[in-house]
Structure formats: structure tokens, C-alpha cells
């Protein structure tokens, strides 16, 4: 029941905000209240989970469209819990940063914002493929509105681009879902979209690969992987600050989550076959994203491209298939969500003050707004993976886990540590150091200070004490590792079998 509440509460709060949105402050407060209730629910789940040896903490399951084997099946494991906690946290941040930035159609704005959050929370719990697809699409539409209505200069272009990329990706996933269900029906006579029942569906390697690619179609766009990333800088840059926070902090994570939750368990063999390609694309994303970030003159675009680089680490971490790297991806996802979210918040604050994102018109802001600058420095340092921040813990675990699998990938990804320093320090130099620009720049207000302060505390807290999060996801990741190891064993047996045949 609590799982349903997690989704319904923010959605209802959003509806109320829309309905009574004439009064802007009501819309804002009701959104905060909704998310505060969710925080409470997350706290109950977090601390009430007890012994985490069980992978699944809670679940609800009842028939939805039984004719097609579709059920309303939600379940929560440690991974989902951590990501939902992140969603609620960033949801609150998003409402808080929009407090003064959004003045137009405030009610509808908050409806969209909270619906995206509700959709994302649903994604992190849905264990029926069609239900998952349903939440997946719920995220999309309000996000489109957030960009298209409250975005910046080029918002329509960015919104349409975002919509098309994600929608086309999702289409492949839908095909693959239906395909999987049919194959399952043929071999067992049971037509179902239930995750657990579909696990272990016998698939030929070729079909398995095709279906895996179908799922990856949706997830790779969201993550995004190199070559499919070009919607991201446009969408992030044009979205209002809250939109950028949600996009970078949460939407990208649904891609990574999808791969861990669906692609690896449903198609282990295909995942193993795809691993070298994924590693390659991960490394390309890390380096290309960093280089592009460095080249940008638009501050927000710079931060946007840094996401491409950071999510490259997540990709290689997932496809290392071991606990070390997978736990690293969890930390990296949380760290990236909070630190990049905070960077977008700071960019938004600067833009609100000087009405431009062009770094050519900035400079010397340290002298004018030392508090803002100090926090920017902290999150830039987090972004470049300074030890003591959550980002370092994530990246280090990922690379330590990738090393046994591929030394080459580790070496190139480690080079990314240098490149991330390049764009982060370049950003600090262009915006906060150097000769003072003419713009006046008041320092942070109390509301703004609280937003970035909380983010800073989270980043450093996780940086020096990541264990509470790691404990939550340990069981899931151990499980994933052993499943992948078993599949790897089968795969090698199969290869050996084929090889033997060929030799004879």
C-alpha cells in the first residue's frame, strides 16, 4: 500500500496545485507538502526495512488487464529505494528552486513537475513490463511541457527533439516487450508481462540479442550513450532549472536503472556479448562528453555535456557485472544527481541574476558573490571527482570493478579524470575568477543557500560515509553479480560447444 501512496501522493499534490493554481503560493506549498509526505514514506521504508538479506522489501500485485496478462505489480528493492529517495530529494529541490523563477502558470507547472516525479517513482518500482512502459511514458509528456512552456529561447526545438528521441527509443522497447511476452507464451503457454515470470525465458542467442537491443533502445537514449546523446544538451539547456535538475538528476538514471533491472536479468547472455561494445561507448562518452563540455560557451550547456561524461562511467560500471562496479554505479548515480543538480541550480541562480548563460559575459564573480562561488567550487570539485565527495567514491568503485574486466577501459576512463578537471576548472575560471565583469551579482538568499547547502552536505556525507547507501543496494547487486556469473559460465560453455562442433 505504501508503494502506491508513494506514487499517488505527489500526483494528487500536483493535481491540487493545478486546480488551485490561481494562488501561486498555494501551488508551491502543496507541492512541498506532497513531497514531504513522500519523504516520510521513504523514511519509513528506509528505516523499517530491517534485515536487508531479502532482495525485495515490499510489493503489491493485483490484476490490471488479465486478458493480456498485465498486472499492477509494484515491488521495491534496495536499488529502487535509493533511487526513489533521490527522486524525492531532487523533487523538493526542484520545487524550491522554482519558487521565484517560475511566475507563469504556476499551478500547471507544479502539476507537471510532480507528475514527472510520480512517474519516475513508478518506473523505479514497476515490475510488470506494460506497467513499466506506462510509467515510462508518464515521465515523458509532462517533461515535454516543462521544457516547451517554461523553457528558454529555443525551447520548442529542444522539447520536440527530446520527445522524438525518447519516443523512438521507447518504441523499440515496446516491440521488445511484446516480442518477449510472445516468445514466453510460445514456450510456456502463459501470456504474461510479469517480470518474475519472464525471467529465465529460454531464448536463442540471436533473439536474446535482438530483444536486448530493443530494451537498450529506450535505455540508451535516456542514459544517454555516446551517439544518442544529442538531445540532452538541448533539452537540459532550454529547460527551466527545475526541469534540468529532474532531467539530469533523475531521467538519466531511469536509463541506467532499466539496464540493471531488465536488460541484465532478462538477457544475461546478450548482455555479456554486448559488454565490450558498451565499454567502448562508455569510454567514448566519458571523453567526448568532457571535451564537448570544455568547448561550450554556454554555461548550462557545459554542465549538460558533463552529464554525458559522468553517465559514461555508469555505463561501463554496469557492464562490468561485478558487485564492486555495480555498487559504484549506484553511488555515481546518486552523486551525479545531487552534484549536477546543484550545478544546474547554481547556473539557474546566475541566470536569474544576470539574464545570460554566456560565459563570455561572466568573470570575477568570486569577489561579488563569494558564497555562491564557494558552493560552485565545491560542486565543480565533486564533478571532477575529488576524494571526499560522493562522486569520487562512485567513480573509484566503478573503475576498481572495471579493472579486472578490462584494463584498457579502466585506463581510458581514468584519463577522463583529467578531462573532467579540464572543464570544471575552465568553468570556474571563466565564471568566478579572472577580471571582474560589469554585471552586478547579489549573493545567495537564505532559500537559495539552504538548497545548495543541503546538497553539499549530502555530497560530502556520502563521500566520507557511503555505507548506508551501499548496504541498501548490496543484496541486489550481489544477486546481479551471481546471476551474471552463472550466465557467463553458460555462455562460455555454449561457446565451447560451438567451438567443439566447428573443430569436428
Amino acid at each position: 500500500m505504501i508503494l502506491i501512496l508513494l506514487i499517488v501522493v505527489p500526483f494528487l499534490a500536483g493535481l491540487l496545485a493545478w486546480a488551485f493554481g490561481k494562488k501561486a503560493s498555494f501551488a508551491r506549498w502543496i507541492s512541498l507538502v506532497g513531497l514531504a509526505i513522500d519523504t516520510l514514506l521513504v523514511a519509513i521504508l528506509w528505516f523499517g526495512a530491517g534485515n536487508s538479506n531479502d532482495v525485495w522489501l515490499r510489493s503489491v500485485n493485483f490484476a490490471w488487464i488479465p486478458q493480456f496478462g498485465i498486472s499492477f505489480h509494484l515491488a521495491l528493492d534496495g536499488l529502487g529505494l535509493v533511487l526513489i529517495a533521490l527522486s524525492v530529494f531532487l523533487g523538493i529541490i526542484s520545487v524550491a528552486v522554482s519558487w521565484t523563477e517560475i511566475q507563469d502558470r504556476v499551478g500547471f507547472f507544479h502539476f507537471n513537475l510532480l507528475t514527472v516525479v510520480a512517474g519516475i517513482i513508478g518506473v523505479f518500482m514497476a515490475l510488470d513490463l506494460i506497467l513499466f512502459y506506462f510509467f515510462w511514458e508518464i515521465m515523458l509528456v509532462p517533461m515535454y511541457f516543462l521544457i516547451a512552456i517554461w523553457g528558454h529561447e529555443n525551447r520548442l526545438y529542444a522539447a520536440v527533439k527530446f520527445f522524438l528521441f525518447t519516443q523512438i527509443g521507447s518504441l523499440f522497447m515496446l516491440f521488445a516487450m511484446v516480442g518477449l511476452a510472445f516468445i514466453h507464451y510460445q514456450s510456456t503457454g502463459l501470456f504474461t508481462f510479469d517480470y518474475f515470470k519472464l525471467l529465465g525465458t529460454p531464448l536463442t542467442p540471436r533473439i536474446s540479442l535482438l530483444l536486448a537491443l530493443g530494451f537498450l533502445g529506450a535505455f540508451a537514449v535516456k542514459l544517454p550513450i555516446f551517439l544518442l546523446h544529442t538531445w540532452l544538451p538541448d533539452a537540459h539547456t532550454e529547460a527551466p532549472t527545475a526541469g534540468s535538475v529532474i532531467l539530469a538528476g533523475l531521467l538519466l538514471k531511469t536509463g541506467a536503472y532499466g539496464i540493471i533491472r531488465f536488460v541484465l536479468p532478462l538477457f544475461p547472455g546478450a548482455s555479456i556479448d554486448l559488454a565490450p561494445v558498451a565499454m567502448l561507448f562508455g569510454v567514448l562518452g566519458i571523453i567526448y562528453g568532457a571535451a564537448m563540455a570544455f568547448a561550450q560557451t554556454d554555461l548550462k550547456r557545459l554542465v549538460a555535456y558533463s552529464s554525458v561524461s559522468h553517465l559514461g562511467f555508469v555505463l561501463i560500471g554496469i557492464f562490468a557485472f561485478n558487485e564492486l562496479a555495480l555498487q559504484g554505479t549506484v553511488l555515481q548515480m546518486v552523486a551525479h544527481g545531487v552534484s549536477t543538480g546543484a550545478l544546474f541550480v547554481l547556473v539557474g541562480m546566475i541566470q536569474e541574476r544576470i539574464h545570460t548563460r554566456d560565459m563570455g559575459q561572466m568573470g570575477g564573480f568570486w569577489g561579488k558573490a563569494p558564497v555562491l562561488a564557494g558552493f560552485a567550487m565545491l560542486f565543480a570539485l565533486a564533478s571532477l571527482g575529488l576524494p571526499g565527495t560522493a562522486n569520487f567514491a562512485g567513480e573509484f568503485l566503478i573503475l576498481a570493478g572495471v579493472y579486472p574486466v578490462s584494463v584498457k577501459t579502466t585506463a581510458f576512463a581514468a584519463a577522463g579524470l583529467v578531462f573532467s578537471a579540464v572543464y570544471c576548472l575552465w568553468m570556474m575560471y571563466k565564471v568566478f575568477f579572472g577580471p571582474s565583469s560589469k554585471e552586478t551579482l547579489p549573493d545567495l538568499s537564505l532559500r537559495e543557500l539552504s538548497i545548495v547547502f543541503i546538497s553539499a552536505v549530502v555530497i560530502i556525507w556520502i563521500g566520507v560515509h557511503p555505507q548506508p547507501i551501499l548496504n541498501k543496494t548490496a543484496a541486489v547487486m550481489k544477486n546481479t553479480q551471481s546471476n551474471m556469473a552463472a550466465a557467463h559460465h553458460e555462455n562460455t560453455l555454449e561457446t565451447r560447444f560451438v567451438l567443439n562442433k566447428l573443430i569436428r
Partner: protein
């Protein structure tokens, strides 16, 4: 008592946090008390710990504390732990003591700066990071200090941030050392994968059991850590950041060069000595890198005109001696030279700050001169510092530690004539550039008149450092000169003792040669800058002379190569691709779609005749297709 060790890095860290949060609201004296006081307290705790470590040592001269788990994932379990042995004790004593003097000096030197609180906050962070680095019991915690040191140096080099040159120097320092850090990180992954731990003592214990002598993996691990050390310690080929790092306030240079930062690499290799002994190839790399660096930087130092830049090259060169020492098993020699160098280099930089203040922020030595009479105290302490740097025989600390290194370069099984000769040539160069500075700045005709008088916060640290620049050498003498070996007796509880293949006669001869080398350098400087000042000027007028001068002056062209082949291509490529070439593909699709849309739109004319034509044409085509198929 030893349990209090956590206070040593924690006190400066509290200072940093306090000054960061409240710095803008505090008065200057309050900032001074917190900024310098936190380091002073840390130095006091260190002194107490060092005292009890020497008088009532823990079992086996080592003690470890674990304060908390950092993380625990799939067997990867780094902790916040401290490991205290003789090596760590020497390091923290020198760091906190010299660091404290630099902080005291800064209270006067930086007194008029607007960013007073920010300055002390960064300095405290620097101290704390460095202390974590040398106290950490595992490589991940060490890496935290390691990166913290890099961060603090970045913040301090770019302290006066309104000047883009300073910012660029800061970024350069961070990025160049980060290249080393990335290799270091890969080294950590390798060590963890093969040995299953990052705890330093466990690594040193397990490595010889897992790896054979000279095995490929051990060599790779040692080399990767070496790249990290080379970056932080400004050795070939990553030395380029240090000469530019003088963009920061002068006390920062003193801190970077003497107590923190550049000695981190020396410490890392000394700490991981067992690994390098397992990888002789990597260890000989250390020696040769040291030798080539000390020569290259020595040649660059003799042609610099900027006082601080000359000192920066001298640091690179002296760290080169420490690397040479590490490469020939002179583990204790490297540490001894580190300690002595910390005293005289802090002295030289702090004195340089006083000089620069006295001549109205002029840094060009060619524009100074004759300052001997005007700032006598600074003259005398600078002379002592320069003599220690030049290793003036018998009376300076630099002589004793450099001699220890050169002796091992000759007599250790890992040494050879080439390494020794490189060290001797370096000694001549050192004598030359050290006294060149003295002669250019303090002798000759006075070009700038000054009535500058350093206050007590500047003078007292200078005098104390001058004292140690002479007397810290006497705790460790060559066997032929005396039986005082206090330093190595102490450090040998933590560092391996090296074998010596030669006898006392050789040692005596080598001491004479080393002394002569230093004096020859002094003589050349005297000849070229006092007796016959035209000599150097005329030499520069010849075309090979000026070409060489130019080449040395610009640090042997390393910057040029890096900019031409790495920085510029990367920048240009990135800028050229700013609009993301990959997006052109998608834009192409969108373009085709729009064009097609337009074309099909054109057909829709609303004209019945056209539609009828289309119908008939289509029907004809269908019939034709049916008939001919």
C-alpha cells in the same frame, strides 16, 4: 599519547572549516590566531608525539590506529586509519614545524590583503591534506590527502584570481599533477585487484609473496605510482607546473616547495619502498629520472632572472636529488635531504618574500643589487640558505644530506658512476646558481633604495630557519667525519638499510670531490658576477650563448612541446566541434524530413485537374506493371 595523532591533521582542518564559514566576520587578529594557531597546536601535538615516540617507542617502532570504516564493498574495505612510524614522524615534524613558521610569517606578509581569511583557510587546508597524506595507513586515504594537496595548491596559486595569468598557472598546476594522479589511480586499481587490499603495510607484506622479483605486474604497479609521484614532485617530464606556480603569494611557494606538495612524491616512493625493491627496473627509473631532472633544472636555474623562478628550478633540482637517492636505496638519505631542504628552501623563499617586499615587488634579480647593506638580516639568512642549498662543505645541513645521497649513488649496489657523476655536475650547478642569486641580489651596485624593515613575525621565522639550515645537518655525519648517525638510526626502524660496497678511503675521496664541486660552483659564480661581471654578459651576446640561454630559460622547451602537441590541438579540436558533429546527422534527418514534407505539400494544389492527372498516371503505371510483370 599516540592516540592523539588524529589531532595533527584535524586541527588545521578545523581551522580551514572555521575560517571558511566565519572568516568574513572575524577580525584580522582573530583570523591570525585561528589560522596560525591551528597549525601551531598541531605542531605542539606533533612535538609531544615525536618526543614520546623517541623516548618510549611503541612496539617495533610502529603503531596503527583505525578511526572508522570508509566503505566496505565486496571485500574492498578502506578505512580512515593512521599509521605512525619513524618515516611518518619525521614527515609530520618537518611539515608542522616549517609550516607553522610559514604561517607566522604570513600573518605579517599577507597583513594587508583583502583575502586574509581566505588565505589562511586555504593554507590550513593545505597543511591538513599533507598531514593526511603522510599519516594515512592505506593508499585510498593517502589519495584523499594527495588530491587535497593538489586542490589546495590550485586554490593558493590562483589566490589573486583577478589576474588571468595566476588562474592559468593554477589550472596548469592542477592539470599537470592530475595526469600523474590518474596514473596513480590506475596503480591503485592494479594493486587492489592483485593483492586484495589497499592497506600499505598489507601491500608491502603481501607483494613479495604474490610477485616474483622483477615481475611484470610489480613493475607496472611501481611505475604507475611513480607517474603519480613525478607529477606531484615536479620531476621529468611533469615538472612544467612548478616554475609557474610562483604566481601565488610567496608564503605559498614556501609551503609548496618546502613542507608540502612537492615532497609528496618522495614520501610515496619512500613509503612504498618494498614495492620498488621488488621492481628493480622501476627503481632504476626513479634514479635516472632524479638524475636527469636535477641536471635539467640546474641548467635552467642558472639562467633565470626572476628570483622566485630561480628558486623554483632549484627545488625541482633538489627533489631530483631525493629521487636519485630513492633510486639507489638511499631511503634515509632521501628523507634526510627532504628535512634539510625543507628548512633551507622555506628560508630562501621567505627571505625572497622579504627581498621582494623591500624592492617594491620587483622580482627581477638583474634589477636588484647591493641590498646587503640595506637589509642586513635578510642578507645573512639568505646567505645561509643559499650556502645550505649549495651544500657548502662541513658547515651547512645541505652538505651532509647531499653527501649521503652522492655516497650511495656511488657505493650502493644500485648506484653507478653515471648517477654519481650526474649528481656531482648537479652540485657544481647548484653552487653556481645559489651564489649567483646571492651576488646578483646583494652585491654590486645598489639599483633600488629601500628602507624596508621586516617586523618580528617575518624576522623570527627567518632566524629560526637559518639556525636549522646549519645545525640540522650535524645529527647525521659521514662515517669518516664522525660517529653521529642519529637520523639514520632513527629512520632505519622504518626504512630498509642499504648495502654499501665501498670502504672508508673511497668515502673520504668522494667527500673531497663533492666539496670541491660545490666550491667550484661558488668560484664560477664569484668570477662571473663579482669579479668580472662582463663575462656573463659577453657570453650571452654570442649566438650559441644566447640560444642556449633561451633554451634553458624556457625550461628546455617542454612547455612548447606540450602546448604545440597536446594543449593547442585539443583546444582547437574541441572548439571546432563545439556544435557537436554527431548532431549534424540528426539534423540531417530532420532536414530531409522537412524537405520531403515540403515536396509532398507541393502536390496538394487543390486543383482538380492535377489530381485527375495523378490518378490517370497512377492507373497507367499500375496497368503497365501488371502487363509487363
Amino acid at each position: 599519547m599516540f592516540k592523539l595523532i588524529w589531532l595533527v591533521p584535524a586541527l588545521p582542518l578545523f581551522g580551514f572549516l572555521f575560517l571558511t564559514v566565519l572568516g568574513s566576520r572575524l577580525s584580522k587578529p582573530a583570523i591570525s590566531y585561528i589560522g596560525a594557531g591551528s597549525v601551531g597546536l598541531s605542531a605542539l601535538v606533533t612535538a609531544a608525539i615525536a618526543y614520546s615516540f623517541i623516548t618510549s617507542p611503541p612496539d617495533d617502532y610502529r603503531i596503527a590506529f583505525i578511526f572508522a570504516d570508509w566503505m566496505n564493498v565486496a571485500g574492498f574495505n578502506p578505512k580512515f586509519g593512521i599509521y605512525l612510524d619513524a618515516l611518518a614522524v619525521v614527515m609530520i615534524v618537518v611539515i608542522t614545524f616549517v609550516g607553522f613558521l610559514i604561517h607566522v610569517y604570513s600573518t605579517e606578509y599577507m597583513g594587508d590583503d583583502d583575502g586574509y581569511a581566505r588565505f589562511f583557510a586555504y593554507m590550513n587546508l593545505f597543511m591538513s591534506s599533507m598531514l593526511i597524506l603522510v599519516l594515512a595507513d592505506n593508499l585510498l586515504f593517502l589519495y584523499l590527502g594527495w588530491e587535497g594537496v593538489g586542490l589546495s595548491s590550485y586554490l593558493l596559486i590562483g589566490f589573486w584570481y583577478t589576474d588571468p595569468e595566476n588562474d592559468k598557472a593554477a589550472i596548469k598546476a592542477f592539470l599537470v599533477t592530475r595526469v600523474g594522479d590518474a596514473a596513480f589511480a590506475v596503480g591503485l586499481f592494479l594493486l587492489f585487484f592483485h593483492l586484495g587490499t589497499l592497506n600499505i603495510q598489507e601491500i608491502l607484506l603481501n607483494a613479495p609473496q604474490v610477485w616474483a622479483m622483477g615481475s611484470f605486474v610489480a613493475t607496472a604497479a611501481a611505475l604507475l605510482l611513480l607517474v603519480g609521484a613525478v607529477g606531484k614532485s615536479a620531476q621529468l617530464p611533469l615538472q612544467v607546473w612548478l616554475p609557474d606556480a610562483m604566481a601565488g603569494p610567496t608564503p605559498v611557494s614556501a609551503l609548496i616547495h618546502a613542507a608540502t606538495m612537492v615532497t609528496a612524491g618522495v614520501y610515496l616512493i619512500a613509503r612504498m619502498n618494498g614495492l620498488y625493491i621488488l621492481a628493480p627496473i622501476a627503481q632504476s627509473f626513479v634514479a635516472y629520472i632524479g638524475m636527469f631532472t636535477l641536471l635539467l633544472a640546474g641548467f635552467s636555474a642558472i639562467v633565470q632572472t626572476d628570483l622566485k623562478r630561480a628558486l623554483a628550478y632549484s627545488t625541482i633540482s633538489q627533489i631530483g636529488y631525493m629521487f636519485l637517492a630513492l633510486g639507489v636505496d638511499a631511503w634515509s638519505g632521501a628523507l634526510f635531504h627532504f628535512a634539510n631542504h625543507a628548512f633551507f628552501k622555506a628560508l630562501l623563499f621567505l627571505a625572497a618574500g622579504a627581498i621582494i617586499n623591500s624592492v617594491h615587488h620587483e622580482q627581477d634579480m638583474l634589477k636588484m643589487g647591493g641590498l646587503r647593506k640595506q637589509i642586513p638580516l635578510v642578507f645573512w639568512v639568505f646567505l645561509i640558505g643559499a650556502s645550505a642549498l649549495a651544500a657548502l662543505p662541513f658547515i651547512t645541513n645541505g652538505f651532509y644530506s647531499k653527501d649521503l645521497i652522492l655516497w650511495h649513488a656511488w657505493a650502493s649496489p644500485k648506484g653507478n658512476v653515471l648517477l654519481w657523476a650526474g649528481g656531482i655536475i648537479g652540485a657544481v650547478l647548484t653552487g653556481l646558481y645559489a651564489y649567483r642569486m646571492v651576488f646578483l641580489v646583494f652585491f654590486g651596485e645598489a639599483k633600488i633604495v629601500t628602507d624596508y624593515k621586516p617586523g618580528p613575525a617575518i624576522s623570527i621565522p627567518l632566524v629560526i630557519l637559518a639556525f636549522f639550515s646549519i645545525f640540522s645537518g650535524f645529527i647525521q655525519m659521514p662515517e669518516v667525519l664522525g660517529q653521529t648517525q642519529l637520523f639514520t638510526e632513527f629512520t632505519h626502524t622504518a626504512l630498509p638499510v642499504s648495502r654499501i660496497l665501498s670502504g672508508h678511503t673511497t668515502e673520504a675521496v668522494l667527500i673531497i670531490i663533492a666539496s670541491a664541486a660545490s666550491l667550484i660552483g661558488l668560484y664560477i659564480a664569484y668570477k662571473a658576477y663579482i669579479k668580472d661581471p662582463q663575462l656573463a654578459v659577453n657570453l650571452l651576446k654570442t649566438s650559441p650563448g644566447s640560444a642556449l640561454n633561451n633554451f634553458f630559460f624556457h625550461g628546455w622547451g617542454f612547455d612548447f612541446v606540450y602546448y604545440t602537441f597536446i594543449v593547442d590541438p585539443f583546444t582547437h579540436l574541441a572548439r571546432a566541434g563545439k556544435n557537436d558533429v554527431i548532431d549534424y546527422f540528426y539534423q540531417g534527418i530532420a532536414y530531409v524530413m522537412r524537405k520531403a514534407n515540403y515536396l509532398f505539400g507541393e502536390i496538394q494544389t487543390g486543383n482538380i485537374r492535377n489530381y485527375a492527372m495523378g490518378l490517370i498516371f497512377g492507373a497507367l503505371l499500375t496497368v503497365a506493371a501488371l502487363v509487363f510483370s
